[in-house]
């Protein structure tokens, strides 16, 4: 495994697959009702559960107290999808257990006591679930999870109750978006318990035509069924996007993607918004076989994020960042 955005996505509409399991310890109030002492205890309990489990698997994981992570790096972790924006809002009394390649992250003290996340490149929901499930099993060998035989795993928000599973795929849908299809897509999948959102989840608007599709229903549906349904929906969306792509005017598409490539290669000042817009067009050009250069657009996109830049190069004003972004992109692409 590797970092989801670094591995070449094989020119796929599916950029990444993510599995999240929400778990809570019994005998402790849920996070929004916890005091500092209980939060500290929670961190230590989960930490020792992993460390003492002594499996080869656990040795891949590292415990990080979030209060020791510099502010820009915390936000850079959000940009790399290692932690949720919600988790980044307050790092006090929160910790994370992370694998080297960041494909596995266990957030401690988010909305639930424990949130296991596995994120992989491309369409690999089953593999991601398999890994998450192993970590889950490893944890409940040593921890007692809040579980009810009727309601399943108990979560702070009843919308996650049951399996506590959120399975999602991130899709690149530039043509669906351009033709105003996202709304009807969202309505259609909404009716069967799935949701379409922007790149950073709840409430976020889409950037670079990247959309996240995930399950909403966690009670009364098994993990396997939720994942299988998401796969079916994903394949249908891919089919739709592909069909719309076939109808595009080739010359216009060439013009569009090469213009984007030229700008990204030679610009001197580049805002985050412009960068995302260009990357989306370049990715389309790559996926359609028009642009043949060795570029990983998703890696460029993630590494050009404002906090990714500042985490590497130190604090910058927005203006300085735009210059730095253009410089970095130029260096990587020529």
């Amino acid at each position: 495994m590797g970092r989801w955005y670094k591995e070449n996505s094989n020119n796929s509409i599916v950029v990444s697959s993510r599995i999240r399991l929400a778990r809570n310890l019994s005998g402790m109030p849920f996070p929004s009702r916890m005091n500092d002492e209980q939060r500290e205890k929670l961190k230590q309990t989960v930490k020792s559960a992993i460390e003492e489990s002594n499996t080869p698997f656990a040795k891949l994981l590292k415990y990080i107290d979030m209060s020791s992570v510099p502010e820009n790096e915390v936000m850079a972790m959000v940009e790399r999808h290692v932690i949720s924006p919600e988790f980044a809002k307050s790092v006090k009394n929160r910790a994370i257990i992370l694998s080297d390649d960041e494909s596995i992250s266990i957030m401690i003290g988010e909305e639930d006591h424990i949130r296991i996340q596995v994120i992989l490149q491309g369409l690999q929901l089953e593999k991601a679930y398999d890994i998450a499930e192993r970590i889950d099993s490893l944890l409940y060998e040593r921890l007692h999870f809040a579980f009810d035989s009727q309601l399943g795993f108990l979560t702070e928000c009843p919308t996650n109750l049951g399996t506590g599973l959120r399975a999602s795929v991130m899709l690149h849908l530039p043509v669906c978006e351009a033709q105003g299809e996202i709304q009807s897509l969202s309505e259609t999948v909404g009716k069967i318990g799935f949701t379409v959102r922007g790149m950073y989840g709840e409430g976020s608007k889409s950037e670079a035509s990247l959309y996240q599709v995930s399950n909403q229903i966690t009670l009364g549906l098994s993990e396997n069924n939720a994942i299988r349904n998401l796969e079916i929906i994903t394949n249908q969306i891919i089919e739709k996007e592909m069909k719309l792509r076939e109808e595009l005017d080739t010359l216009k598409l060439e013009d569009l993607s090469y213009r984007a490539l030229g700008t990204l290669k030679y610009a001197r000042i580049m805002s985050s918004k412009e960068m995302m817009n260009l990357i989306s067009k370049i990715k389309l050009g790559l996926d359609m076989g028009i642009i043949k250069e060795e570029i990983n657009p998703i890696e460029l996109l993630v590494e050009s994020g404002p906090f990714m830049l500042m985490s590497k190069k130190g604090e910058m004003t927005a203006k300085e960042r735009d210059i730095e972004r253009a410089t970095e992109l130029r260096k990587k692409m020529t």
Binding site: F145, T159, S186, I217
Partner: protein, 165 residues
């Protein structure tokens, strides 16, 4: 900005659509958005749903009953307002109140997924096929959990005997 549908709640969902080539923006509250088929359940949240069902009477109803979670002290109106329960015990305390909403959110009130090891699967062995159990047995052996493996092994034996006889 007020919701264009109900004119009551704050509009939080802004829907852009193109009708006959003209771009239009509609501003809805999360609840109306969900009713119109936009957005999704988790954005509406339990809070919105409960608030809309109970309306203003929510506060008084629950203060009259005066039921508090014995573990965390949360009242049902706390739960309804925030959309979050205080602790695991809250699900017991407010089960009757919560079940209709769970039904509405998930379409079901019964868990159908993974069951932790500590709640042993022998409770409902009939639902497991022999193949399922074999997979589990192999996993337990590879994890050197011989005690649990022995339970599964006996279970497989019993099931095979039953089906043969």
């Amino acid at each position: 900005m007020k919701c264009e549908k109900c004119g009551k709640n704050t509009a939080t969902t802004h829907i852009k659509s193109i009708v006959n080539g003209v771009a239009k923006e509609i501003n809805l509250c999360s609840l109306c958005a969900a009713n119109e088929g936009y957005g999704n359940i988790s954005n509406v949240g339990l809070a919105g749903m409960l608030a809309s069902m109970f309306g203003e009477s929510l506060q008084s109803v629950n203060e009259n009953i005066g039921v508090k979670c014995s573990v965390c002290g949360a009242t049902f109106s706390n739960v309804a307002k925030t959309g979050k329960v205080g602790c695991a015990e809250c699900y017991n305390t407010f089960k009757n109140e919560l079940l209709p909403y769970l039904k509405r959110v998930h379409g079901s009130t019964v868990h159908a997924g993974k069951v932790p090891n500590s709640a042993p699967l022998i409770v409902k062995p009939i639902q497991k096929t022999v193949d399922d159990l074999r997979t589990q047995l192999n996993r337990l052996i590879s994890e050197e959990k011989y005690e649990q493996a022995a339970v599964i092994r006996d279970e497989i034996k019993r099931m095979e005997e039953n089906s043969n006889g």
